[in-house]
């Protein structure tokens, strides 16, 4: 085997993910064909279902908001050399923090007070759920992939217990809390835009989208523009070098996982305060795992994560349209595509790199020969 193939920076960051994405979509098309539907028609339905109307765009960006939070969570841990598979559990338990604040302050305090406290609640609860696996990795060397998976299950059991036995609205069967007070509702995008004089069809898209963009900016500043972010990236790439530079890897592990968990914990701002307006069973609905795909596809950079979150949001929204119009396809096809994207952009990323690098080497050689 040759040494890892080198690509120009723009190709590494832009072209390679696109080639891998194309491969994943191509294989998805083959599967659609096998199912007996036309891949081309399916693609058109996906596009129109996700971007064809203001309402569809609103849904796409609403789903994208969830994926931005979980994608950023995976990315921050990744830069510290950690694989946080616990985004699902952290988002779930973080939702408890958001929900408790919303239940407590909703209707009692104005929205501008509820919002920061709810962000704090989600961040603290999400970070708390990431803390134990982080601490165990840092101090006792427990493999964080395994412990975060275990904490997904433990978190799920805990939340089921709380919703069934403690937080359930008295006198109803389904394990849900009462509805939040009205001041704990995230303002809908259509209402906000109407105030600015812009007409936008109603959809679940809400202010949490802006919070997610802010979180992306915050991550960019923290990871690439601060001393702490530098320490984080050094510790993630070379622990020995980090120790030599006076950086404490265990401390970085815990701090980065706290930030990661806090980001995942903010998912409920969108899902609960923005749309459901109550805490309910399994509301993250796999968004924590989609975050892995989003981060991989977006090369763990906030800008890339934004783009890939919108892509996955479009898949999630377009998938419902697809299942509506094509009787042989259901929304699970979107999950297949997500899996294929993780496979091609993550696990098989080296497969495409070598041939691409060969092409670039040949081009460079030709240019030299000409010049």
């Amino acid at each position: 085997m040759n040494a890892p193939a080198k690509l120009p920076r723009w190709a590494e960051l832009g072209l390679l993910p696109l080639v891998n994405l194309a491969a994943a979509l191509l294989l998805s098309g083959v599967i659609v064909k096998v199912l007996g539907e036309s891949p081309w028609a399916a693609l058109k339905l996906l596009a129109s279902g996700s971007l064809g109307s203001e309402e569809n765009i609103g849904y796409t960006l609403y789903y994208a908001t969830n994926f931005m939070f979980t994608g950023l969570a995976v990315a921050v841990a990744y830069h510290a050399g950690l694989f946080n598979i616990g985004g699902e559990g952290q988002a779930y338990v973080g939702g408890l923090g958001v929900g408790l604040v919303a239940l407590w302050l909703g209707g009692r305090a104005p929205f501008l007070v509820v919002l920061p406290v709810a962000i704090l609640g989600g961040a603290v609860f999400g970070a708390a759920w990431a803390f134990i696996p982080a601490w165990l990795q840092a101090r006792r060397g427990s493999h964080i992939v395994i412990t975060t998976i275990m904490f997904n299950f433990i978190g799920s059991a805990l939340m089921t217990y709380l919703l069934v036995n403690v937080l359930i609205k008295p006198g109803q069967q389904s394990p849900e809390t009462r509805e939040f007070g009205a001041t704990a509702f995230m303002p809908a995008a259509s209402d906000l835009l109407a105030k600015a004089g812009i007409d936008f069809s109603p959809s679940p898209l809400n202010l949490a989208f802006v919070v997610a963009l802010g979180a992306g900016a915050l991550v960019w500043v923290l990871v690439w523009r601060t001393r702490w972010g530098y320490a984080l990236r050094v510790a993630g790439q070379n622990q020995a070098a980090a120790v030599y530079a006076g950086i404490s890897p265990p401390r970085i592990i815990v701090q980065s996982m706290l930030l990661s968990g806090a980001l995942a914990g903010c998912l409920a701002l969108n899902e609960l305060m923005g749309s459901q307006h109550r805490i309910l069973i399994d509301f993250p609905g796999g968004a924590g795992f989609v975050g892995i795909a989003v981060a991989l596809m977006g090369r763990n950079h906030p800008a890339g994560i934004f783009l890939s979150a919108v892509l996955f949001g479009a898949l999630a929204q377009g998938g419902s349209q697809l299942s509506f119009d094509m009787p042989k396809i259901n929304r699970d096809m979107v999950v297949v595509i997500q899996g294929l994207v993780i496979l091609f952009c993550g696990a098989l990323e080296n497969v495409m790199r070598a041939p691409l690098a060969a092409v670039f080497a040949r081009l460079a050689g030709r240019r030299e020969a000409e010049g």
């Binding site: 199912l35 006792r140 992939v145 275990m150 904490f151 999950v335 993780i342 098989l348 080296n350």
Partner: protein
């Protein structure tokens, strides 16, 4: 007497729940001892569950279903091998990709092929499922509950795959510790460079380990859809692949302790089912969710080194490259 029956029935339930866990955990053991993280067990089992139920429904033969389940699972294991062994991709990412893809692919194919909302048809015909085998004299044994009931409910009355799983543990222990292949397998998970230096192919060994892992996980998945239930349903593994991985870690990557961990986890599951909604003396109602979470909590405690110490194979998760 009533309590005795309850205990026997709980133990019988334990065996039924433990079977797929044992198969999957031993499958994972071959993969992890060779240095490849076995996170993909969930996807392999789910894929096998679908393939087995679909083929059994169409062909009318549980055995063909078993073959299809194992083939599907082996194919997924080899795909993980292609990504992580041949192309040195990240093992965690490859496994998660498989798990997510299969979670969607089963219901997708199920809907397209059978039009039943993502399920496979109910397996009702003779020979479409692995059903309980009755041993001789079961009815006579029931007349003398002690020890007859133990014989009737625990030894007899299980399906073929259960006995297979029971045999698998000593067999895998023998392969792992008493054969040349087992020695090399363990070596490749601890120090692949040494194996390579001895002129043995690291890649070949890891592919063999993954194939075994896939085959056994395939049996586990087949058990779920053609023995424990009558057909495939969405997400029917429900985290059993991860639970098997936890059992493997709790068993410190060794066959017999892993069997013990599987039985312990299955027992907590059986007890949770029994305790649902019941009130115990002195304790009151025990929340079922706490018992369900117990295996995961125990595994975390073990990984933390608070109850014993689990030491993973040294080279696990590290792609092997000759240059380094």
């Amino acid at each position: 007497m009533e309590n005795y029956t309850l205990v026997v029935l709980t133990l019988a339930a334990t065996i039924r729940v433990a079977t797929p866990l044992v198969l999957a955990a031993i499958a994972g053991m071959f993969s992890e001892r060779a240095g490849v993280i076995a996170l993909g067990l969930e996807g392999m089992m789910l894929g096998a569950a679908f393939a087995a139920a679909a083929v059994s429904a169409v062909s009318g033969s549980a055995w063909l279903g078993l073959g299809a389940g194992m083939a599907a699972s082996v194919a997924l294991a080899l795909l993980i091998g292609f990504a992580t062994v041949t192309h040195r991709g990240n093992q965690v990412i490859a496994a998660m990709a498989i798990n997510i893809m299969i979670a969607g692919l089963g219901p997708t194919l199920g809907l397209a092929w059978f039009g039943l909302g993502g399920q496979t048809p109910q397996l009702e015909g003779a020979g479409q499922r692995f059903t309980a085998l009755a041993w001789p004299g079961v009815e006579a044994a029931r007349a003398h509950p002690f020890p007859g009931l133990l014989y009737a409910e625990l030894l007899s009355g299980q399906n073929l795959i259960v006995y297979l799983a029971a045999l698998l543990v000593p067999l895998s222990a023998w392969v792992l510790y008493r054969t040349r292949f087992g020695l090399r397998l363990r070596a490749v998970g601890e120090n692949p460079l040494a194996v390579d230096t001895a002129g043995i192919s690291v890649t070949g060994l890891r592919y063999q380990a993954l194939a075994i892992c896939g085959a056994l996980a395939g049996v586990a998945g087949t058990y779920l859809s053609t023995a424990a239930s009558a057909g495939f349903s969405r997400d029917m593994t429900a985290g059993k692949g991860y639970l098997a991985l936890a059992a493997l870690i709790f068993g410190k990557w060794k066959p017999y302790p892993t069997l013990g961990a599987c039985l312990l986890f299955a027992f907590t599951d059986a007890v949770a089912a029994q305790l649902q909604g019941r009130s115990l003396p002195f304790v009151g109602v025990v929340p079922v969710q706490f018992i369900i979470a117990l295996p995961y909590v125990l595994t975390v405690l073990l990984l933390a080194g608070f109850v014993g110490k689990a030491v993973a194979p040294a080279a696990i998760g590290v792609p092997y490259s000759k240059e380094k």
